[in-house]
Assembly symmetry: C3
Homo-oligomer: 401 residues x 3
């Protein structure tokens, strides 16, 4: 959805939601801000049930669409106060696309996590939720990523929604004939209600969102962003450790190339009294941009070459895979780096009783298989949390808070 | 469905439909024609709710199937007169397969478009129609075409139906082991209620339909037919221009290889006082067979090298992509042809206020991007119309009129 | 589901099923065996509604999950006697995974076939069953097999369930990065309720089942097993011939490489007075292990080079394709073998009136096309039976008997 946050400066926008589940609350009636809607001649209250209707350029049209059932009595409904998420009313927290980890502040993370916890319950209920029944998600994957795709598709289907799949859009689609991403998006948005896109080029998700009149979720764009992974990482830490303020986190392995650890460091900086340890082979050290950012935010960090000592001290050991594909022909360097920091039983033995080991997966041998049996090995629960986060985002983008 | 039109010469056949949505109308009671049903010993009225039941060779069986719920009171229901599509009763208009543009006459086009307009409303309604709930569509694609596949799958799911997908049947399926298309169809028809097939060989769809006991839709068979594209093109012209009789249409670009423009020319010949302009580089001129056909049907046409003059004169400018893949090694010829006729702002400036630009997509640079903002740029609406046409066809083939 | 049969030695386990469809029967109350559940401290009755809850290591947890709606009144429900399948109570017949043909005895085959016959009725009913609504099946295919995949996905969808698809897990998934099968399974089980896996390595299905906390169905693992094909073959013989005891079966074609004929011979040995004829070119004769097995079970068998004489004598002629891919560069041997035993009209002419021809498909020219018209050509009905068998297995694994 191209319109994005800047157009919706109306402070109550975020609370606007579907009438079936929410009661009308008169103080939440809202009129569009001058900035955006005057252009399209709209002077009526805005009603954000169906994000697909909110093309700025078509505002005069959506009032006439049949999809909006109560068009004659256009009203703005909001969450009642007691149901509202725990962030201050008046802040800009509406969610229209999920493009990068940086778009989330502490309040919106907290709100998303609250929804994700509800999703855990929904997922365990039989025979399954139908809250997204009638909604269609298009998974537009320009490079394959079975794990991420299945997670999103499971999330959609667990909520009763339906899916259109392209596993290999790069080869198969009109892109091979030279069609622009923008044209593809304009076509696909006609067939679906939300687009989940994986692309090989950094920035592709932002371009897609700028084009689409429906929500876009970035499922990874090249070396760029993979925001839902960052969200599930933070969510898992909160679920496993019980808090985010005051935690100590070791980031281990390929810190130069791993976009997960970079995004995680970025998000952790939003919390109080966090301390981060970087433990990595010299060739794949954390880059200065993140270090500088942490410093600028007052986050304490240090580099260490002693995994055991760090592990004994931390709440979270976040291990990552050394990415062979980044080493090119320097297989010798790769092999040396790969074997350097392994999480094995010896590391587990020094870890605290309530600490956890995380890993974005896939895992090779940087965590030994015998560790799996340890209850502190949280990486498969972490993968499962990805489902809940994606269910939450789909719910929020399609139905609102 | 192999039985096809010729067997159903009973004049009222086409009006037979599901009892839930239609009222019984005694004059529409019909008995099978001598030609077809005597062979199978059936002397009861025919009831066309479930096309899958209408195997001619199994007519005695379908009365016993559980799927037919009112088997004890076999009756023939029809549309009431005021609900009937706008074609004369007595004409042969039933739809059993969609194989080629030529199978549609003016009346059946009009009837399909009427259903498509209803589908526009259904698609915009929340939470989505369920009229095809319980039906399974198999998309059997022997060559990839993500755009067409997603359009069909979206159509099916918007109506509550389900989909089995094969994106790359040529490589993956038993075809690689030497299985005939006929054998594949006989297997797939056991798993689904309707088959949408894309194939690399001209005539494959007809062979599939001749084998299958369930409806088959041709989603493109090699250089042959792509009838749903032809239907959505004509539907778009009617929706955008408001009429089909008396219109002036410019076909621009690759007229030699483009099956869309060839099918469109064919269908336009069914309307009154149509004038067609051909504007194309010399190497990809419209072939004589279509020209001769138009002449034989009394359709006025002319060739022109002046796109602006033609555009200023037409209701529809139908631009197409020069297909590089047809030029082989003659890249020089391709480049020359590709740049010759571009729809840009200068062309838009001379076009009439109510005229529209169409394009089957994907588009390269034969329409410049700045044209997209012009309300007369109808090609993305055209792509969306493909959804409605396909919804209409699925509904008609599975449930009847 | 890793726990598998050995843990559930409680004799009544198999009868435990969902409370909605079954009445409580006090004598069926069961406590977990000492072997398995004491470890997790569980002393309450076990209730097998949702196989996903039966992680042995998490037994104390599942009592708290929301998915189990009657958690406060934990009880063990069973089939009433009059609804029970026709095998003796007390036998171990519960179904937790489908890994190999050998796991089925005569009683369980009979019980599965009883469910499959019910599925035939369900499949023909409109608008389709919803008994698996809310359940998600992951089709994890490490090598493509469109026919098998579509059959499973159709089975799931005909019962109202949903599907996550990977057609080419080998290339696309994390496997390419070196992830173990076990790690992949641990991730995928978090996204779905049942896994249908096709793999290129013999034994892969067993490894997956040993890891997964949800049911796993083997859809073929390399040269190893393809148990659902074996089940549908036996089911088809029973449906077509009307019995399994006392039948005469000719296995024709590639008996050395065809896993279908090997599994079929194995399963037929469970029935009384079966006689098996092997008719094959010398280079692809049935191997000694199966012959020895049949002899050890008292099953009569003989080899013959006269297809017509055998066919005139049998209830079932099971033809198979000579697998070119097994001959490597010896194309001459392949060609010679391929043409040797063809089922054509001349063979049909000598066959008995009630005998049938089967074939696992795909078929090349080892059965001539003119035979298709003969009512005794049962191979397409056989393919359809695969749907019913898979529907039955999905129902049994997810909901119980």
């Amino acid at each position: 959805m191209a319109v994005s946050c800047s157009l919706f400066t109306c402070p109550l926008q975020g609370n606007i939601a579907a009438p079936k589940t929410l009661e009308c609350y008169k103080e939440f009636m809202c009129y569009p801000s001058n900035l955006s809607f005057k252009q399209s001649g709209c002077t009526k209250p805005v009603y954000q049930t169906h994000p697909r209707l909110l093309h700025c350029s078509k505002l005069s049209e959506w009032e006439q669409t049949d999809r909006f059932l109560q068009k004659d009595g256009l009203q703005c409904h909001g969450l009642e106060v007691e149901n509202a998420p725990s962030f201050s009313v008046g802040k800009k927290f509406q969610l229209e696309d999920v493009i990068e980890a940086q778009q989330f502040d502490r309040d919106i993370l907290s709100a998303i996590f609250e929804v994700a916890r509800k999703m855990e319950k929904i997922e365990k209920n039989s025979p399954g939720s139908q809250i997204l029944k009638g909604y269609l998600m298009a998974t537009l994957f320009y490079e394959p990523s079975t794990r991420t795709r299945l997670s999103f598709e499971s999330a959609m289907k667990r909520l009763g929604g339906e899916v259109l799949t392209t596993e290999n859009a790069r080869e198969f689609s009109s892109a091979a004939k030279g069609e622009t991403l923008e044209d593809t998006i304009r076509t696909v948005e006609g067939y679906s209600d939300i687009i989940v896109m994986r692309h090989f080029e950094s920035g592709a998700a932002r371009r897609a969102a700028a084009t689409a009149g429906i929500p876009v979720i970035n499922a990874g764009d090249g070396p760029g962003q993979h925001p839902t992974q960052a969200l599930l990482d933070v969510y898992t830490i909160e679920r496993e450790v019980g808090k985010l303020d005051g935690i100590k986190v070791a980031l281990v392995g390929d810190l130069a190339n791993g976009r997960t650890v970079r995004s995680l460091a970025y998000l952790l900086a939003k919390y109080q009294d966090v301390k981060i340890y970087f433990v990595s082979p010299d060739v794949v050290k954390m880059k200065d941009d993140i270090k500088d950012y942490l410093t600028s935010r007052g986050v304490e960090w240090e580099e260490s070459a002693d995994l055991k000592e760090v592990a004994s001290n931390c709440d979270v050991v976040y291990q990552t895979r050394i990415q062979k594909e980044r080493f090119g022909e320097r297989i010798d360097l790769y092999k040396k780096a790969r074997g350097k920091y392994i999480v094995d039983q010896a590391v587990m033995d020094v870890m605290q009783k309530d600490a956890v080991v995380l890993h974005p997966l896939p895992r090779l041998d940087e965590i030994t298989v015998d560790v799996d049996r340890d209850p502190r090995a949280a990486y498969f629960r972490q993968a499962k949390n990805g489902l809940y986060i994606r269910m939450a985002l789909l719910k929020l983008l399609l139905l609102g808070w």
